[in-house]
Amino acid sequence: MTADTIGAGGLALPASESRLHKILTNNTFWIFAIDVLLIILFTSISINHTFISGTNLQNLMSDSGEGLLLGIAIAFLLGSGEFDISLGANLILSSVVAGLIAIALAPFGIGIVIIGSLVGAIITGLIVGLVNGLIVTRLNVNSLIATLAMLGIVTGVAYIVSGGTDVTGVPVALQDDFGIKTVLGIPLPFVIAILAWAIAFVALRFSRFGLHLLAMGSSRPAAERAGLNTNRKLVTLFMIAGGLAGIAGFIDITRFAATNIAGHTQDSLSAITAAVIGGTLLAGGIVSMVGLLGGVILAVILANGLVVIGVSSYYQLIVVGVILVIAVSVDQLRKSDSKVRLFSK
């Protein structure tokens, strides 16, 4: 046998794997297929097809914005092999800070209010992300534990800063000029979220940043031996996630002109669910940004559609949970070569 033959034998992947087979075994395809089926179902059942009406489509987009931003944050962290379950708390604190700044800057006009509260929310998010990153990298605390601790700490700080109640009295102009404003019929918060998603997609797919992120999640030792400064990159990733949570917090207060401290405690878990349903691996190394979009849309369609057809939105939690289990199980089955071969025989 000559060296020429290396690579000719022993390749586990079938060389002739068809495009159709790839599509059918792809989580992203199935999530979007379910999304489309649900849209058809809810449109058919809803009175006067109100589910597909322009107003309801705007509602769907508005409801997707914050979830998508947190989804991007968690997809980046999961891709690098880390968790952040404090994102919801970070969103709450950022919205509280943004609300208080908006109230304080109200006399200076809406332009200053928007800029001031947005910057305040982003800085708050970045600081929380920085603390998360430092705890994980400097104190070597598992990110699940570190961010679990920060979930409590940040929520507590939010309550202290807000005086134990939701922040109200935020200038209504903030709502009119940002939170419920539309651009070509599309809600501005959703435009921002989609823009962030597009940037994240390009960064992950085409840049060195994305490659290093996935390398860290795929094999931390391999990334370190390749000379990557993994600690510094992880801190940066936690800060990016925090910054995205800050923007989500700003959007939250601009949509409702008040904070909702008790309403976002499950947001991190919802974001993780959306990412994993879409094909992002919990173990790291693989991120599907398109799948994330499908996962976020799925949760929003279910929550909205069930209400539109007169069913309690609580069922949405059950359906999303079941889909999560199925998605992860099918993914695990697909990854097990021996099992796939067994079935193919």
């Binding site: 000559t2 020429d4 690579g7 060195r208 795929s218 391999a222 390749a226 190394g285």
Partner: protein, 292 residues
């Protein structure tokens, strides 16, 4: 089955695309200049607590040679290798590259001095493609207005990877396959090709055949021989004595942290190596000390 021979005899393309000059690919002459060596280490010692892992070891790796480093478990092979690639700093002794005494604090330092390492676990990211693994930490970027954004120049990287694989006669179905979808032999080939691509002079390999079957081990050994024939010095730590003896030019055996045998392959047999490893007559460093 003997792999020893020139690249031409094996029908293998020389590594023309590699970043080394013609003088580096020539067969070493008896009068060696500093540039004929990948490294020369003198009097290396390393102690962990009360354990003297390495005692006054001198070792050199020449360009174009395959140096086999044998020894029983605990003989000090890994410790020595880690000192030579910057993972450990020696307590005493010096390491010289290109005639200059150098200090290495990490494998990246070793890489900067032209020495790359193929770890036993290969240090590949399984979810990344062959192309991405080949360039991890050495990515090529687009220039111009895209430069600040750090966009990868995948086309350029693919061309260089194809050239690097071709120079070692490695054929893979696709550069866009994930490493986890490759066989064990193919992964090892990718790891060797990556080390060869970023090495200017030498590659240290830790148990390159440990996780492979017979046929794949033979292929990887041939690949190692090809790499050395193309001009790089290759040091192999292994327990696979017969197979490595087939491709080695020189053998060093460590016993209790000291050099028990350092000889050109000549007529060395597996028995000679084993005798040195277990300290039979004439091969135990402690015996030599006593005789003095």
């Amino acid at each position: 089955m003997a792999f020893r021979g020139t690249a031409d005899q094996l029908g293998i393309v020389r590594n023309e695309g590699k970043n080394m000059d013609a003088s580096q690919t020539e067969v070493a002459s008896p009068l060696r200049s500093p540039s004929d060596y990948v490294f020369r280490a003198e009097g290396l010692s390393k102690t962990f607590g009360h354990v003297k892992a390495i005692r006054d070891v001198s070792i050199e790796l020449r360009r174009g040679e395959v140096l086999a480093l044998f020894g029983d478990n605990g003989a000090g092979k890994s410790t020595l290798t880690k000192m030579l690639c910057g993972v450990y700093s020696p307590d005493t002794g010096s390491i010289e590259i290109d005639g200059q005494s150098i200090t290495m604090k990490s494998t990246r330092d070793a890489e900067d001095h032209g020495i790359t390492v193929v770890h036993q676990d290969l240090a590949l990211a399984p979810d990344l493609t062959v192309l991405e693994n080949m360039f991890l930490g050495h990515e090529m970027m687009h220039g111009g207005i895209l430069k600040p954004f750090g966009f990868l120049s995948r086309l350029e990287m693919a061309q260089k990877t194809e050239k690097a694989l071709q120079s070692l006669s490695i054929r893979l179905p696709s550069l866009s396959l994930s490493v986890k979808d490759l066989s064990g032999g193919q992964r090892q080939a990718v790891a060797v090709a990556r080390a060869n691509m970023w090495s200017r002079s030498g590659i240290l390999m830790d148990e390159p055949t440990a996780a492979l079957g017979t046929i794949q081990s033979d292929i990887v050994c041939q690949l190692i021989r090809t790499t050395a024939d193309a001009g790089a010095g290759v040091m192999i730590i292994s327990h696979d004595i017969p197979r490595i003896l087939d491709i080695a030019d020189r053998v060093i055996v460590l016993r209790h942290g000291e050099v028990a045998l350092d000889e050109p392959i000549g007529s060395l047999t597996r028995s000679d190596v084993v005798a040195a490893m277990v300290g039979l007559a004439g091969h135990d460093p402690e015996d030599k000390e006593d005789n003095k």
